[in-house]
Amino acid sequence: MRVDVSNFRMVFGDRVVIDELTFAVEPGETFGLLGSNGSGKTTTLRALLGMQQPTGGRLLVDGAVFRPDATVRVGYLPEERGLYRKDTVLDVMTYFAEIKGLRRKEARSWSEAYLDRVGLADRARIRLDKLSGGQQQKVQLGVAIVGDPGLLILDEPAKGLDPVNRQLLMDVIAERKADGATVILVTHNMDEVERLCDRALLLRDGRAAAYGTVQEIQDAHGSRMISVRLLGEPPVSPLYTVASRHGELVRLTPTADATDEEILAALVTGGGRPVGFEPNRVSMDQVFVRIYGVADEEARA
């Protein structure tokens, strides 16, 4: 499923929360929607899912404004999440599965299989409020992915998760991605972004502060270096310049368009005889701090 957001604008009272935001999420990619608290991430998702009326612009899922319907398979794990606490785990999961278009029998067996997978089979007939917080989160995740959604939107999915549940979440995202699903991930954990996301959008004050592949964002917000160990002389190439050399250790500054693969190939074919190759990019954490640091400085000014 593809997501297109163009000229999206959201105004609450006198406050402009989102201002002319445009981005796209390609089918099958994992997309990181990033930003500090209050930057408009959740508002964007709610508007995309029809829960808030945009002040302006268009937000489309597979070319159409989203309407909740069993034929459009969207899984959503919102930031504010809960379930029917007084009902049993299996009943709640079955209910959500039915709403998402599964027949009652299928819904029940899917739910039982999921609970078995996440180690909650013996809790299936227990009331939800009797489960621990972590167990409830597993059920919430199950409710979000039931029906094999083509678009999975996870808003702060790892918030409050222990390492075991975090791994479960990673597995689920990987599975959905392997099945060709589009995943939109809202997170403050930049390691997750680097590990999982193909592309990302970083929101600042309702505008796109950074947008592209993770590498593009890193390269745009920090000087890119590559450390190589060469047994021969560094060959001359238009793809990089030599920044420093200490014996075998050479630091290269790539030109803007050169990819890591192209530089490595140039070193090999130019007779540099590389035995070590390590791109040094600024981390997404640093990108985040740089972008918001600038914002803070601007705010102070």
């Binding site: 105004v11 829960m51 309407r67 969207v74 794990l77 919102p78 379930l83 959500f96 039915e98 709403i99």
Partner: protein, 398 residues
């Protein structure tokens, strides 16, 4: 909105509700109270004295109308000396003095205090002695006629047809009781139907797969089903209690003969009940949709329910003086209209055309309020901690 979604929501809501003990407690409370009342009444009947204990009294008679034999039969005798003083000293229970002209002067009664209510027995005794003395001067047939007012049979006609009278009032009146019963039993659930999703942070998770309208319609249908189940429980329990207790109880005093079905009044009552329930449900759903929690919604819920049953505070006026301006206001104000018009319809004081107009009005208002409730739910669904403001419902384009 798909019918399948509504069906799924309805089934879920019904099944989760009937599995809760509170549902059965609420449903069985009324029959339990009814059964307790029957038991108490039966028990009271077995221990109640069959006749009042005779009062030891003395009397003096300046009118010459009191018959000594009648007085003796009632436990009295002519007054001895100082009768009044002996009463004060507690040696005599009562001393009655009949004046020369009882039509202009009261009978003076001196008696030992038996409490505010039981002291009335002395007046009853004086009147009974007087009546018995008069009767003793008449022939038996005349005495019977004086004692028992001849029975009457009323043949009232409306539009050329015999009117049903009290018997035709029973079914429409039961529908008014039903309205009260449903609101008492299910009012809270109507309110909670929309608060729950917000309070438990479920709304976003569910509305991504389900239109808000389907959710609310499903919940209202579930309420209707649950209402029918609870009414069924109450009616069935009532029937069982009646079948067990009726043979031993004297229900003649109710003056009810065979139930007469007046099709117009019954149909009107059903339409009014349906319209009233729709309006009230929509109002409660709207309150739930606009409030962040049950606690915040509770004062508004109480207000609606109190206003809804307000006609019962004016029931004497509603029944005895249906053209009173207060009754007119209660009849046409949407929240009080269901109860007032049901009561007026039961007594036959509601013009069928006016009743039909009110029923249609209630249905239209109910449908409109429901639409507003759905819109409110949709807009207020993500305002977890605050009340929805009216301006939030109006699209904002700077």
């Amino acid at each position: 909105m798909s019918a399948a979604h509504v069906r799924i929501v309805t089934r879920f809501e019904v099944s989760r509700t009937i599995r809760r003990p509170q549902f059965w407690v609420a449903a069985l409370l009324l029959p339990a109270l009814l059964a307790a009342m029957v038991i108490v009444m039966t028990w009271a009947g077995t221990i109640a004295p069959t006749a009042a204990d005779p009062i030891d009294f003395e009397y003096s008679d300046d009118s010459g109308l009191i018959h000594e034999g009648a007085a003796t039969d009632m436990g009295g005798r002519p007054a001895g000396p100082d009768a009044e003083q002996r009463v004060k000293d507690g040696q005599l229970i009562a001393y009655l003095h009949f004046p020369a002209d009882p039509t202009t002067e009261p009978v003076a009664i001196h008696a030992v205090d038996r409490g505010l209510f039981d002291n009335a027995d002395y007046s009853v005794l004086a009147r009974a002695l007087f009546a018995a003395s008069i009767e003793s001067t008449l022939d038996p047939r005349t005495a019977d006629l004086v004692r028992a007012v001849p029975a009457t049979t009323i043949h009232a006609y409306a539009d050329g047809h015999r009117a049903g009278g009290l018997d035709a009032m029973i079914l429409p009146a039961l529908l008014a009781v039903l309205l009260l019963l449903i609101v008492s039993l299910l009012g809270n659930q109507m309110l909670n139907s929309t608060v729950e999703e917000k309070e438990n942070r479920i709304s976003e998770m569910i509305l991504v797969s389900l239109p808000a309208r389907a959710l609310i319609h499903g919940k209202i249908l579930a309420l209707a089903v649950l209402g029918l189940v609870q009414i069924g429980i109450v009616v069935l329990s009532g029937a069982i209690i009646y079948a067990i207790a009726a043979p031993g109880m004297d229900l003649e005093f109710l003056g009810i003969g065979d139930i007469v079905v007046d099709p117009v009044r019954v149909a009107l009552a059903i339409a009014l009940l349906f319209g009233g329930l729709l309006t009230l449900t929509a109002l409660l759903v709207l309150i739930g949709a606009a409030m962040p929690s049950t606690k915040d919604a509770a004062p508004f819920y109480s207000t609606v329910v109190i206003v809804m049953i307000a006609p019962l505070y004016f029931i004497t006026t509603v029944l005895m003086d249906p053209t009173n301006p207060v009754v007119t206001v209660l009849t046409y104000f949407p929240v009080t209209a269901p109860m007032t018009s049901l009561l007026l319809n039961a007594t036959g004081a509601l013009n069928p055309m006016a009743g039909a107009g009110i029923a249609i009005g209630l249905l239209v208002i109910g449908a409109l309020v429901l639409r507003v409730a759905v819109a409110t739910f949709q807009h207020g669904v993500i305002q977890y901690d605050q009340r929805l403001r009216i301006k939030d419902l109006i699209p904002h384009r700077p």
